[in-house]
Amino acid sequence: MLKIENLQVAYGGIQALRGIDLEVPDGKIVTLIGANGAGKSTTLRTISGLVKAHAGSITYDGTELLGKPINAVLEAGIAQVPEGRRVFANLSVLENLRVGAYLRRDKAEIEKDLQWVYELFPRLQERSWQLAGTLSGGEQQMLAVGRGLMSRPKVLMMDEPSLGLAPLVVQGIFDIIREINRQGVTILLIEQNANMALKIADLAYVLETGRITMRGTGAELLADESVKEAYLGKKKK
């Protein structure tokens, strides 16, 4: 289980996270929703080691990860799919996936995982020699997810996978997320599209200006009046 306790992060003088507690149980889909600037991406970037925290702890199965370099976090089994896809535009699809397995040295297993990713995303196999920059937005998102999976993570953290995609494509991405989870990968999903995220989440947190203000199952939060008003765009009757 990935466990975060009293995590505090500041950029210069601005406090981005004011002590949040979060639990990501194994095998579940956990989602973190919130408005712009609430601290969602900061949470994710702190877990992966890209941002330094000044207090708190992040443990995975009891091992402290806070303060460890990025590669140690990846080797512990926590990978991320960065916001805005960020595929390597001038590398082929296959090369992008191989970069995802950068820290691994077990060649035979990498080939197996490559086949696994290709089974999840047959579209990527069709385009494996194409430059990633020439893919459509949805395909690039698939590639970003596939690249994240190539490190064979236990926990995959996704930052706004629905960003800038057509509704139908978003539906496809969320189907895939559920499928990946069914195959045993724990998911920590960060979304502005609260409606979609809450529908597939086992556990959900609401983040507001650096604090967790609510937690519950996805269904509970979907039914909650204040969540409805703030994030789902439905007026109280």
Binding site: S48, L50, P69, I70, N71, L74, E75, Q80, P82, R86, V87, F88, A89, N90, L91, E95, R98, V99, G100, Y102, L103, R147, S151
Partner: protein, 391 residues
């Protein structure tokens, strides 16, 4: 499986092509005499291979890792001097360092030659070349610590400044015992003296050696670019944030690319000293860096074969094909009033502008020669098939 076989076949064909090219150079080296009409071809091959290696090593940094550095001439200078200093034979030392008391009293080719004979001399030259690369790489490491934190234009300015400072320091009088101050270094082991004696036959190696050095180094760079490290370099070039998220250590990989590139720049500097028979700091001005950059851009940023083609075309044009423009007659046209000193550069600049206009991404873009040739071959096959279908 099929892919792997095709890949293997492609590699074999490339290897055969490289070996055939080396053999051809060896033959040309014997056949063409210094008085012959085609002697220019050998000069172009010698200088071209030096510049090809320099361009490829710059491409490794600018094209594959996305670090825009303009310090190449400086690192080549370090390589050229290191090679020259460590291969001046003892009996020539006093005449070379005529105003100073030479501090380095080791000549690698001579020492090893005395101990092991002809093979030792070759080994000594090789060691001096390696040392040239290593010293350049060591300087690169020290410079890299502060400047690799910079990005794009700022990195270019910092490395450009470094190259100029190095040039000034090497001409400093106080360093005379090592660098011979602003005087040139000469009389070291050079290409025109490289020979292989097989019984009664003497093979001239004056063109073969620089071409061989360049070929081996470029092959190593190709292997590096196609390895996991090369993929990491390209990932950094495309997106630093995402590369970091994949666990790629940015500082470490940038430093690795920088030092490797400068190692090969040092080797190409050493080869240049070998080809020109002299080493002089004034030859390594920033204009040389720009020439190399031009070759990289002409050939295509991110294409190794492009850099080689760019360098060879550039050297052929400036040293050989366009010579007549400076000396009165060109392509049979006699016009001494127009074709005089400097006109060559005018025409050359116009040609470069035209090439850049028509090949926006350089001659090769970011593709490699086998790909392009393979594509042509396939297109021909397809056309032949279509023609057959029509009938």
């Amino acid at each position: 499986m099929l892919d792997k076989q095709a890949e293997k076949r492609k590699n074999l064909i490339s290897l055969a092509a490289v070996l055939a090219f080396l053999a051809l150079v060896l033959v040309l080296d014997q056949v063409i005499k210094p008085t012959g009409k085609l002697y220019m071809l050998l000069t172009v091959l010698q200088k071209g291979s030096v510049y090809a290696l320099a361009a490829v090593s710059m491409n490794l940094l600018n094209g594959f890792t996305g670090l825009f550095s303009l310090g190449h001439a400086g690192f080549m200078l370090i390589g050229a001097y290191t090679y020259a200093i460590f291969s001046i034979p003892s009996d020539a030392r006093d005449s070379v360092y005529q105003y100073f008391d030479a501090a380095v009293r080791v000549s690698l080719p001579e020492t090893l030659g005395n101990a092991l004979g002809g093979f030792g001399t070759a080994l000594g030259v090789l060691l001096a070349v390696l040392l040239a690369g290593l010293v350049a790489a060591a300087f690169a490491y020290l410079i890299g610590l502060p400047v690799l934190r910079l990005k794009s234009d700022y990195l270019a300015i910092a490395t450009l400044g470094f190259a100029e400072i190095i040039r000034a320091i090497f001409q400093w009088k106080k360093l005379g015992p090592v660098t011979n101050g602003s005087n040139l270094l000469k009389n070291f082991a050079r290409c025109s003296t490289f020979k292989l004696e097989l019984g009664s036959v003497t093979l001239s190696l004056s063109t073969f050696v620089p071409v061989l050095i360049a070929t081996v180094c470029i092959t190593l760079i190709v292997l590096l670019v196609n390895s996991t490290y090369g993929r990491a370099f390209k990932a950094i070039r495309d997106d630093e944030v995402a590369a970091e998220a994949m666990g790629i250590n940015l500082a470490k990989h940038k430093m690795l690319a920088f030092c490797t590139s400068c190692f090969f720049a040092g080797v190409s500097g050493a080869t240049m000293a070998m080809v020109l028979s002299i080493a002089q700091a004034n030859n390594f001005k920033s204009a040389m860096t720009y020439e190399i950059l031009l070759m990289v851009v002409l050939g295509g940023i991110g294409s190794i074969s492009g850099s080689v083609i760019g360098a060879m075309l550039f050297i052929s044009a400036s040293e050989w094909w366009l010579r007549g423009l400076d000396s009165g007659s060109f392509l049979g046209i006699n016009a001494p009033t127009v074709f005089r000193n400097g006109f060559r550069l005018v025409v050359f600049s116009v040609i470069i502008m035209i090439v850049v206009l028509f090949f926006r991404k350089g001659i090769m873009g970011d593709r490699e020669l086998p790909e392009v040739l393979g594509g042509l071959f396939r297109r021909k096959e397809k056309k032949a098939k279509e023609a057959a279908d029509h009938e």
